[in-house]
Assembly symmetry: C2
Amino acid sequence: MEIKEFKDKFEQALSKNESIVFFCNCEIKYSGRAEAFLARGDRIIIVKGDNTVLVHQPEGSSPVNYMKPNSKLELVKHKKHLILKCQNLDYKDYLDIEIFRVYNFMNHKLEDGLKLELAGNEKDMSDMIKAKPELISNDFKPLSREEHTKFGFIDVFGHDKKGNMVIVECKRYTASLQCVTQLRRYVEKISELKGVSISKVKGIMASPSISPNAKEMLEKWKFKWVQVNPPKRLERYSKDQKSLVEW
Amino acid sequence: MEIKEFKDKFEQALSKNESIVFFCNCEIKYSGRAEAFLARGDRIIIVKGDNTVLVHQPEGSSPVNYMKPNSKLELVKHKKHLILKCQNLDYKDYLDIEIFRVYNFMNHKLEDGLKLELAGNEKDMSDMIKAKPELISNDFKPLSREEHTKFGFIDVFGHDKKGNMVIVECKRYTASLQCVTQLRRYVEKISELKGVSISKVKGIMASPSISPNAKEMLEKWKFKWVQVNPPKRLERYSKDQKSLVEW
DNA sequence: ATATAGATCTCGTCA
DNA sequence: TGACGAGGTCTATAT
C-alpha cells in the first residue's frame, strides 16, 4: 500500500476513534519505564479507539511492544517513510514505530462494552471452602471470607474445636514458596494483631498441588496443606459444546 | 462480508500459516484452566502463523480471550453462522468464537524472527550494583551476582567490612510487602545453609521506592532500604529521536 | 516437565 | 492516587 494512502486512511480512522489494524515492515524504539529496540521485521500493529497501541510479532501470545490507553498518537514523515510516534505522559512512555512498508490496512468502528464472566478463580475457591468447610477438615469452622480488611487479605478465616485460629490461603495452581511466605505473613500478622500466641494460629494452604520446597517450608512452619481443586461453575458450557461438536 | 467468502479466505490463509486479523461481531465461550463467557459484541480477532489466537475488545491493553501457540483451529458451520473452534490439548483449553458478522478481514504472510533488545530490567540493575557497589554503601563488597544457585535466586551477594554477609534484592519498581518477605526468605536460607547467625546476614532492598508497610516490615527485620533506580543503557535512542522530532 | 521469579506485567479493589 | 494481590497471568531460565 502506498504511504500516502496509508497516512490518509490512518489519520481519518484515528480521528474517528475507530479500531485500526495493519500489517507492516517496521523498526521499533521504546523509551520509558525501560528501554527497548526491535530491528526491522514484519509485524501486526493494533490501534484501538482508546488509543491503546499493540505491536505483535507473527508468533507468540504477548505483544512485543505496547502503549497503554490514552496515548497521544501522531504519524510523521521521516525520509521516505513514516514514524508512528506514540507518547503516554502519565507513564512517561514513548514508542516510535518507523514504518517502511504497509502490507494491509483495516479500520472499523467497533461497539462492545461487555464484560467477561469468569468462574474458577481464587475467589470462587474461597467461596466454596466457606460453604464446604469439611474440604479443609471436619474440625474447621469458617467465620469469614474476608478480603481487604484490617487483618489483611486473608482468603478464609475461622477456628477449630481446640480454640485455635485458622487461616486458609487458597491458590488455584501449584502452591510455591512465595505462597507459603504469604501464608506465614498473614499468620504472623493475625498473631500480632489479636495478641495470640503464634502456636494458636494455624496456617492452611489449600491448592490442587504444592511444590516440594514449598511443602518443606510449610512443614517447617507447622502449617498444613490440603488438596483442593478450584471449582468451575460454568462447566456446562464445555459440556454443551461437546454435545454439539465432538472435540 | 459474506460468511462464505470469509470462510474461504480464512481457511486458505490458515492452511498457509499466514497471519490473520478480522473484525467481527461474536460471542465467546472458554473452558479450560477456568470457565468464561462473553456475550455478543464487536471484537478484533488475531490468528497468528503459529496458531496463537487473540481476542481483543475495542478498548484496553489485554486480550479478553486467547489461546496459546500450537492450538488446533477449525471453522465450523452452526445455524446460519460460523464457530471458530480452538483447542489446545497441552493446556486442556477450549475456546469457541461464535461469529455472527464479519466486518473486515485481512491476511498476510509475515516474516520476522527478531528479538527485542531490552534494557532497564532487574538483571541490568543487579549488574550495575555489582559494578558500582558504592550504590549500596561504601562498606559493601559484592562477591557474586548469582541467580539459580544452590543458595537461591539472590540478585547480589557479598559482605561488608565487619564480616557480615550481605544479600541485596533488587526491584525495578516500588518494593512491596511481598518483596520484603522474599528478601527475608533468602536471608534465612543463607543463614541456615552457611551455618551463620541470622544477625550476621544483612538484607538490603534496592529499589526506586518502597511502600510504607514494606518499609515497616523491613525495619522490623533489621533490613535496610537503599534507593536505586534501574539503569537505562539504551537511553541514547530516546535522545536521538528527540533531536529528530521534538516531543 | 517442574520450579522459580521477573514483567514496560495488567487488572480490579479498597482505603 | 497508592497499596495490595490475583492472573486462564506470560515468559525466560535452570534443574
